[in-house]
Amino acid sequence: MKAKTVRRRASDSHHRPAKLWQLRLYVTDSTPKSLTAFANLKKFCEIHLKSRYRITVIDLVKQPQLAKGDQILAVPTVVRRLPKPVRTLLGNLSDTERVLVGLDLRATD
C-alpha cells in the first residue's frame, strides 16, 4: 500500500517538465547530521540545479512507514527519484566530490 502511494507520486511527476529533479531527503529528527545534510543538499542544488529541483524532507520518526518504500536503512539518505535511474546517497553529504558523483550532478552542467 505504502509502496504504491510512493510509486503513484513518482508517475505523477512524469507530467512535470523532464528536467525537474525530484529529491527526497530522509532524516530522523533534527539531529546535527540531518541538519548538515539538508544544508549541504540545498547548497549543491542551488549551485547545479537552480530552480529545477524539489526537495522533500521526510522525518522517519514521524512517518516511519515511509522507510519501506525507498528501502531506507541509513540516515540521512538522499534518494534521487527523478531523473531516472533512481540513485541513493548516504551520509551528511560533507564529501562534495562524492555527492557530485553519487547524484550525478556533473552531467547537468
Binding site: 549541504n40 540516515v75 551528511n92
Partner: protein, 585 residues
C-alpha cells in the same frame, strides 16, 4: 522466573525462556531460547536457518500468542511465504491477521553511494515501527550479514550492529539472527562477537551420498543445554530435532508378559512369552524364517486385539500377507479391521533420520502396542555405524517410553560370526533370539535358540524350527554324542530309539511274565503250607483240651476222695481246692 510450562529433561533453569515450539529444540535447550535476548543461528548455505527462524516466528504467533516481525534481507515477502508454505505455514494469513509483519529489506550496492557520516537509524525506525504496529514479542533478522555486502562502510555497520543488539535487548523482544557460517569462525562476519547469549549451529553434511542435518547448541549463557549434535530434519510439519523423547534411562517397566504366537517359544521363555514393552532382537541368516516369526508375533498381538505396526523394508505388505498365508497365518482380516498396519519403504528412499522421523510419526498416529521392524539391518545401510546405533537407541527409547513391545529382525550374512555383527545393537535389546541353519545329510534345517532374555528364566536348549502349512512348530532337536541332530537325521535317530525302546519293552514284558509265574507258584506253596500249619495248630489245640479235661476230672475225683476220707488238708491246699472248686462250679 517464568515457567514456560514445557516438560524438559533438564532441571528448571533460572533464565526465562521463550519456547520455540520446534519439536525437540525446546527439550535440548531446556525450554526454549533466552527470552528477551538475541539468539544467533548460524550455518552453511541450505542448512535450514531461514526455516528455523520462520518456524520460531510462526509457532510463536500461532501457539504462544506472541506476534513477530520477520525482517528479511535476502528473500522477498512473496518468496518467503511460498517457501514456508511447504511446511504448512500460512504466512500470508498470519500477515493479514496482523500476527506477523514481514519487512523485506533490500539494498542494491551498485545504486548506493555515500558521502560523509550516517548511521542506521532508518533500520531502527523501521524495525521499531514494525514491532509496535502489531505488538511483536519476537523478531527475526534473516540474514543480517547481507548488510555487509550492501553497505560500503564496515566500521559504521559494526558500530551500528552493536547498537542494534543492545536496542533489541532493551526492547525486550526475543530475537533470532541468522548468519552464514564462516571458515574459521562461527559466522563469516564475526556476528558472534555481538550476539553472545545463545548460539545455535546448523550443519548439513553428506556421508556416503546420504545427507544429514545436524543441530548443536554451541553456547547458551546462563542455562544448561544439550551439547551434542542432534540430527534434525525438515519435514512437512516443520523442523524436528531428534531426540524427541527422553535421553534418560527412566522408562516405566511392565511385568505383564505377552505370548509370541508360538506356544513352544513361550515355553522356552519361562512359559509366558516376552515382557510387554521390551525390545526383542531376532537374528538370522537369509531364509531362516525371521519374517515368519515376526508375522506370527503380529498375528498373536492382533488376536489379543492390540494394534500392531509392521515396518517392512524389504517386502511389500501384499507379499508378506501372501507368503504368510501359505503357512496358515491370516493377516488380511486384521488389516481390514485396522488392527494391523503395514508401512513399507525402501531403505534407500531417504536418509536415516528421515526414516526415523517417518517411523516416529507413524507410531505417534497409529499408537500401536506392538511394533515390528523387518529388518532393521536394511536401515543400517543408509547411515554410518555410529549413526545407526544412535538411531536404534532413539527408536528403542521412544518405543520403551510408550511401553510398546518391539521386534527387530536382523539379517546376518551366512559365514559371519553371528554374535559379532550384532554386538553393537544387541546390548540395547532385552531379548535375543537366534535363528540358524544347520547343514548336513544333504539338507538344511533351521534351529532356534534363546540367546538372552533379560529378567526371565529361559531355556538354554536348541529347538528345531519347523515351518509347515499349519504354521511354526518347535521340536526338541536330538542332542547326543554325535552332536545336534535335526531334520531327517533326527527322525532316523528317533526311529532307532523307538525300535530299541520296543525291544526293551518286549524284554521287560517277558521277564515280567516269568516273575508272575514264579510268584504264583510260590503263592500256591504258601497256601499249602498255611493249611498244613493250620491243621497242626488245630491238632495242638485238641490235645491241649484233652489234657485239660483229664486234669480236671482227676482233681475232682481226688477232692471227693479226700472229703470222704476226712483227711487233713493244709491251708494252701484247701485254698487251691477252693479255687479249683470255684472253677468247677
Amino acid at each position: 522466573m517464568k515457567n514456560n510450562g514445557h516438560s524438559s529433561t533438564f532441571p528448571a533453569a533460572r533464565l526465562p525462556k521463550c519456547p520455540t515450539g520446534i519439536q525437540g529444540l525446546d527439550e535440548i535447550t531446556g525450554g526454549g531460547l533466552p527470552r528477551g535476548r538475541p539468539t544467533l543461528v548460524c550455518g552453511g548455505a541450505g542448512c535450514g536457518k531461514t526455516l528455523l527462524a520462520a518456524e520460531f516466528l510462526v509457532r510463536g504467533a500461532v501457539q504462544f500468542g506472541e506476534p513477530g516481525v520477520f525482517m528479511a534481507f535476502e528473500e522477498t515477502e512473496k518468496e518467503l511465504t511460498a517457501n514456508v508454505a511447504s511446511l504448512g505455514f500460512d504466512l500470508a494469513g498470519l500477515v493479514r491477521h496482523k500476527k506477523i509483519v514481514v519487512d523485506y529489506v533490500h539494498l542494491e550496492r551498485s545504486e548506493i553511494h555515500e558521502s560523509g557520516e550516517y548511521d542506521l537509524e532508518g533500520l531502527f525506525v523501521r524495525l521499531n515501527h514494525a514491532i509496535d504496529s502489531i505488538g511483536a514479542r519476537r523478531v527475526v533478522l534473516d540474514t543480517l550479514e547481507a548488510l555487509f555486502a550492501s553497505l560500503p562502510n564496515e566500521a559504521i555497520l559494526r558500530a551500528e550492529l552493536r547498537r542494534l543488539f543492545r536496542w533489541l535487548k532493551d526492547k525486550g523482544v526475543t530475537a533470532v539472527i541468522t548468519a552464514e557460517r564462516g571458515r574459521e569462525q562461527l559466522t563469516r562476519h564475526g556476528l558472534e562477537e555481538y550476539v553472545s547469549d545463545c548460539v545455535i549451529l546448523l550443519d548439513h553434511r553428506v556421508n556416503d551420498q546420504i545427507a544429514t542435518r545436524n543441530l548443536r547448541v554451541v553456547k547458551y549463557r546462563g542455562s544448561l543445554h544439550g551439547t551434542n549434535e542432534f540430527p534434525f530434519l525438515i519435514g512437512d510439519e516443520g523442523i524436528s530435532v531428534l531426540p524427541i523423547t527422553s535421553l534418560a534411562l527412566n522408562h516405566k517397566v511392565s511385568r505383564e508378559r505377552i505370548a509370541t504366537g508360538i506356544p513352544r517359544l513361550d515355553a522356552m521363555l519361562g512359559g509366558r512369552g516376552f515382557f510387554r514393552g521390551s525390545s526383542i532382537l531376532l537374528t538370522g541368516t537369509p531364509g531362516t524364517g525371521k519374517t515368519i516369526v515376526a508375522a506370527n508375533f503380529a498375528q498373536a498381538a492382533c488376536r489379543r486385539g492390540e494394534r500392531t505396526l509392521f515396518f517392512s523394508f524389504e517386502e511389500s505388505p501384499n507379499q508378506i500377507i501372501r507368503n504368510t498365508h501359505s503357512i496358515g497365518l491370516r493377516l488380511e482380516p486384521f488389516v481390514q479391521r485396522g488392527l494391523l498396519r503395514f508401512h513399507a519403504a525402501r531403505p534407500s528412499l531417504y536418509g536415516l533420520e528421515m526414516h526415523l522421523a517417518t517411523m516416529f510419526k507413524e507410531i505417534a498416529t497409529f499408537q500401536p502396542r506392538v511394533v515390528i521392524i523387518d529388518p532393521i539391518t536394511s536401515l543400517m545401510d543408509s547411515g554410518t555405524a555410529s549413526e545407526c546405533k544412535a538411531m536404534v537407541t532413539r527408536l528403542v527409547d521412544y518405543l520403551k517410553a510408550g511401553q510398546v513391545t518391539t521386534l527387530f529382525t536382523s539379517l546376518t550374512q551366512a559365514g559371519h560370526a553371528l554374535q559379532q555383527s550384532e554386538a553393537s545393537m544387541s546390548s540395547l535389546m532385552d531379548s535375543w533370539l537366534l535363528l540358524q541353519d544347520f547343514e548336513g545329510n544333504g539338507e538344511r534345517n533351521r534351529v532356534l535358540y534363546v540367546l538372552k532374555a533379560r529378567g526371565m528364566a529361559h531355556s538354554n536348549q536348541v529347538r528345531e524350527f519347523l515351518i509347515s502349512d499349519r504354521g511354526i512348530d518347535l521340536v526338541d532337536a536330538y542332542i547326543g554324542p554325535s552332536g545336534v541332530l535335526t531334520g531327517s537325521a533326527r527322525v532316523a535317530q528317533n526311529a532307532l530309539e523307538k525300535a530299541s525302546l520296543l525291544a526293551s519293552h518286549q524284554e521287560a514284558a517277558r521277564r515280567k511274565r516269568e516273575l508272575e509265574q514264579k510268584r504264583a507258584a510260590l503263592e500256591r506253596q504258601i497256601s499249602g503250607l498255611r493249611s498244613e500249619h493250620e491243621a497242626s495248630a488245630e491238632e495242638l489245640r485238641q490235645i491241649d483240651e484233652q489234657v485239660g479235661t483229664q486234669t480236671r476230672l482227676l482233681s475232682t475225683e481226688r477232692t471227693e476222695l479226700g472229703r470222704l476220707r476226712q483227711a487233713d488238708v493244709s491251708v494252701a491246699s484247701s485254698a487251691r481246692v477252693r479255687a479249683g472248686n470255684g472253677r468247677v462250679h
